[in-house]
């Protein structure tokens, strides 16, 4: 009898489930219209790796927001992602912005590369469509006076000043004389711009730039760059390149036994990348980077990290940045209590969002730039990426100079 | 008085002396022939006269002026037109368009050039094929086209490189009066020809080139009985045998 009873209970459960399934459409119908948010990422072409990570961050954020009940001020409206592939080119991005506009999104998040962000935010501004830049660091993105464009993360200017300040602190703390620097940068948008700023700023903290070495992307060979570094024998090497080239450079330096007192990267594509750390632990060890990074002390950030790893990806900065940017938009819509673009823009302008997973203060936008954004310094230690600055969120002490 | 004077032209290709100190004169209003066995250097000499091949030595005087350094298109503008032994039609163009390219040299307007082109096409017997693509023409048709295109530039001196080769006797019979008519209009002609029958009929004066050298000149009749010429054509010992048979 026990068996039949349990069967009976199971059947009852099944019936109940059926009822709830039948009832579901009614609940759905009662729900308010979903809010559509455009996620623009380059998932094909040269930047596909980064674009996929950005998409992952946005997806995780939207899932979390919807699971938490959607936009409450709009009666629990769900957030719907409209994905657009920027195909690694500004032109394609512009085209996709048009499509997102046609699909009636309330805001766009993403872009990743500065050229894409520049072109896409400009295209969106024709429609006063709020555009949240996830990564693009070029300062011109927010200095053009576009009222629709907001950048959550820090820009070039902020990165260089923080990177230099932290470097000065690092050198002071080490107590060792560090005088000479070689800059190695990719000759595209971000590397060249950064090198220019560094060249102006580094002498102010008493560092002599021995040489600025640009290289194209892709580069076939880093042997010459390494040779020049060897010839110059600087105390410090500051590289800013994309992933492939920095990996080539780091490995070539390792091979050529070039051991400066430190490799202090700024916004480098590889220096704070788990893949590099995992695949070439020796070359990566003790490399420092000033970059975007999540707050290692934020439990939500650690959850997101686990989720990303469960999805088979590394937790690069794209994930938490997009996660946070989507949260920022959702918060603005929540406060605007409307899918209306002008109201969302107004809400963003007065935003004091603190529910992100970056080591930032609450947001405060001035001219579209988040004043609360802070670059962090990282160092590869023991096969992991540790935050070494600012001290408030640091997870490890810097090791500098590199022990011989 | 000569229209064209070729003075001591030599052309060396690597180790090969294709033309060796050759000279000739073409008086205005005449048809002059240039004959010689295969590989004698006739076409090379033509190339030098029309400016396509720079000579190693010697000079070309046309209408009293030294034109040795002039590029081909400049010679064409000053009235020297040539045909090619290996016909060079503009294969992608129609017959009338081909000829019009020549006519544009003297007529800037499309309507004029086309009218001239179509007139000339009729004169050389291509009237029925005006709008056919040049690539669809037979060998005879292409030879006529070569001739028509050169004529369309309104030349004073016409250089004909074997316009009869590859034609059958009736085709040759058709074309000879056309050439005579061209001369009658005052165009001076220098022609390379293999078909001796035509040379005999057309030319007042003939030059014979063999192995790059001028070996004889004179009236066609005189040339035909010249021992050196017969040997050059029929081979060593031919003259003697011919004499024996005759």
């Amino acid at each position: 009898m026990l068996t039949s009873q349990s069967i009976g209970r199971r059947a009852a459960l099944r019936a109940a489930a059926a009822v709830s399934v039948l009832a579901a459409p009614r609940t759905l119908r009662a729900q308010p219209a979903a809010i559509r948010i455009g996620i623009l990422q380059p998932v094909t072409g040269a930047l596909a790796q980064d674009g996929e990570l950005g998409r992952l961050g946005a997806t995780l954020a939207i899932d979390a927001l919807n699971a938490a009940g959607g936009i409450k001020s709009l009666g629990g409206a769900k957030i719907e992602m409209v994905f657009a592939d920027a195909r690694s080119s500004p032109e394609a991005a512009t085209q996709e912005v048009e499509r997102l506009q046609a699909e009636g999104v309330s805001a766009i998040v993403g872009g990743f590369a500065s050229p894409i962000c520049l072109a896409a935010s400009q295209a969106a501004s024709r429609y006063d469509l709020p555009y949240i830049v996830d990564v693009g660091v070029a300062d011109s993105i927010v200095s053009r006076g576009l009222t629709n464009t907001f950048r959550f993360a820090p820009g070039f200017g902020s990165f260089t000043s923080v990177a230099i300040a932290n470097l000065a602190a690092l050198i002071a703390a080490s107590g060792k004389p560090v005088k000479t620097v070689v800059l190695v940068h990719e000759d595209g948008l971000f590397g060249a711009g950064l090198a220019k700023l560094m060249n102006a700023e580094l002498p102010k903290i008493g560092l002599e730039v021995l040489e600025t070495i640009p290289h194209p992307t892709p580069s076939r060979d880093m042997a010459n760059v390494a040779l020049r570094i060897r010839a110059l024998n600087p105390d410090l090497v500051i590289p800013s390149s994309y992933y492939n080239e920095f990996v080539l450079l780091a490995r070539t330096m390792q091979q050529q036994r070039i051991r400066p007192k430190g490799i202090y990267a700024v916004l480098n594509g590889a220096a704070s990348n788990y893949r590099f750390v995992k695949e070439f632990p020796e070359a990566a060890n003790l490399v420092m980077d000033c970059n975007h990074w999540f707050n290692p002390n934020n439990p939500l950030a650690l959850t997101v990290k686990k989720q990303a790893e469960a999805a088979g990806k590394f937790m690069a900065y794209n994930v938490p940045l997009n996660y946070s940017c989507v949260g920022l938009v959702a918060d603005a819509i929540e406060r605007a209590a409307s899918p209306d673009r002008a109201k969302i823009i107004a809400a963003l302008n007065t935003s004091t969002f603190a529910g992100h997973i970056m080591p930032y203060n609450a947001t405060k936008f001035v001219g579209g730039q988040n004043q609360g954004a802070i670059p962090v310094n990282l160092q590869v230690q023991d096969g992991d990426i540790k935050v070494i600055f600012p001290e408030a969120v640091a997870s490890a002490k810097p090791i500098f100079p590199v022990p011989a | 008085m000569t229209l064209l004077h070729v003075e001591g032209i030599t052309k060396q290709f690597g180790g090969l002396r294709a033309v060796d100190n050759a000279s000739l004169s073409v008086p205005p209003g005449t048809i002059t022939g240039l004959i010689g066995p295969n590989g004698a250097g006739k076409t090379t000499l033509f190339g030098v006269i029309s400016g396509f091949i720079p000579p190693t030595a010697g000079r070309i005087v046309y209408n009293g002026a030294d034109i040795t350094a002039h590029p081909p298109h400049r010679r064409a503008r000053s009235g020297i037109a040539r045909t090619f032994q290996i016909v060079q039609p503009f294969a992608g163009l129609s017959v009338v368009e081909n000829i019009a390219v020549g006519a544009y040299l003297r007529h800037a307007k499309r309507a004029d050039a086309t009218r001239v082109a179509s007139d000339i096409a009729h004169r050389v017997g291509l009237g029925a094929m005006l709008h056919q693509p040049a690539s669809a023409l037979t060998v005879a048709g292409r030879k006529r086209l070569e001739l028509a295109r050169a004529l369309a530039t309104a030349p004073r001196l016409l250089l004909l490189d074997e316009v009869l080769a590859g034609l059958n006797p009736s085709e040759i019979r058709d074309i000879i009066p056309i050439i005579q008519a061209i001369r009658a209009e005052g165009v001076t002609i220098l022609m390379i020809e293999h078909v001796m029958q035509a040379v005999m009929n057309l030319c007042e004066h003939v030059y014979v080139l063999s192995q790059g050298r001028m070996i004889a000149e004179g009236t066609p009749q005189a040339i035909c009985t010249d021992e050196q010429v017969i040997e050059a054509y029929l081979g060593h010992g031919a003259a003697g045998q011919m004499q024996a048979h005759a």
Binding site: - | P37, N38, G39, S135, A136, T138, V139, E162, A165, G166, N168, P169, H194, V195, M196, Q197, A198, V199, M200, Q211, C224, I230, E231, Y233, L234, G235, H236, G237, A238, Q241, M242, H245
Partner: protein, 233 residues
């Protein structure tokens, strides 16, 4: 050995050979004569498979050559020494000769090389010289020697005397006669009428893509039509 009936062929749309008949018996030298542009070279190209046959038949030793590739024809033993020699200027004399036996008689390469060098001692002296640097006469020897390397059953010689000095022409014709006396069948395509008729058994005059006069060489030499065909007299 070779029998051509009603052959028509040409380039693109243009017919050059317009119904040609020709037969060659084993052991003969047959001279094919004619002025420039009558279709001699076109005929040779059709015979060696470089041009498709439009209509008519070519039988070589009893089998048809319709649709045969140049390689097939070489393999069958019909070797064509082309006008203008077409030797490989970037290769040594020895390599040129070796390639003569690329398709046929490869196993006899060594013996045939010796034979070629015996026939043309001058080639032996220049075995390692680049063929492009040879004189015209030497190049012609090389072309024939290369043809002989394939142990031809029938050898087509296209204008072998072209561009040679009179002395060399003499030498060339003597050589052709010698080769024939050693048993080689030869089709000799020439402009040099008198000397060709001197050594040929049989001759044919090509005019306008057809054979206008055919017959034993000695008869043709006396035929006034010959002189007319050439000089238009």
């Amino acid at each position: 050995m070779l029998e051509i009936t009603g052959l028509r062929t040409g380039y693109g749309q243009t017919e050059i050979i317009r119904g040609l008949d020709l037969a060659i018996a084993p052991g003969q030298i047959v001279a094919v004569l004619g002025a420039n542009g009558v279709g001699k070279t076109t005929l040779n190209k059709a015979l060696s498979g470089l041009l498709p046959i439009w209509s008519g038949t070519i039988q070589f030793e009893g089998s048809s050559l319709a649709g045969a590739t140049p390689a097939d024809i070489v393999a069958a033993g019909l070797i064509h020494v082309p006008e203008g020699r077409k030797i490989f200027p970037n290769m040594s004399v020895l390599e040129n000769l070796e390639l003569g036996s690329y398709r046929r008689a490869r196993l006899h390469r060594r013996t045939n090389l010796d034979r070629a060098f015996t026939i043309f001692p001058r080639l032996r002296d220049r075995a390692s010289q680049m063929a492009g640097t040879l004189s015209g006469g030497e190049q012609q020897m090389l072309a024939i020697g290369r043809g002989l390397m394939a142990e031809p059953r029938l050898l087509i010689l296209d204008e072998p005397s072209l561009g040679l000095s009179p002395l060399l022409v003499e030498e060339m014709f003597t050589l052709i006669r010698t080769l024939n006396q050693e048993g080689l069948t030869i089709m000799l395509v020439e402009q040099n009428v008198v000397q060709s008729l001197d050594i040929a058994d049989h001759a044919t005059i090509l005019e306008n893509g057809q054979c206008s006069i055919q017959g034993p060489a000695a008869e043709l030499a006396a035929n006034p039509a010959l002189r007319r065909a050439y000089l238009g007299l």
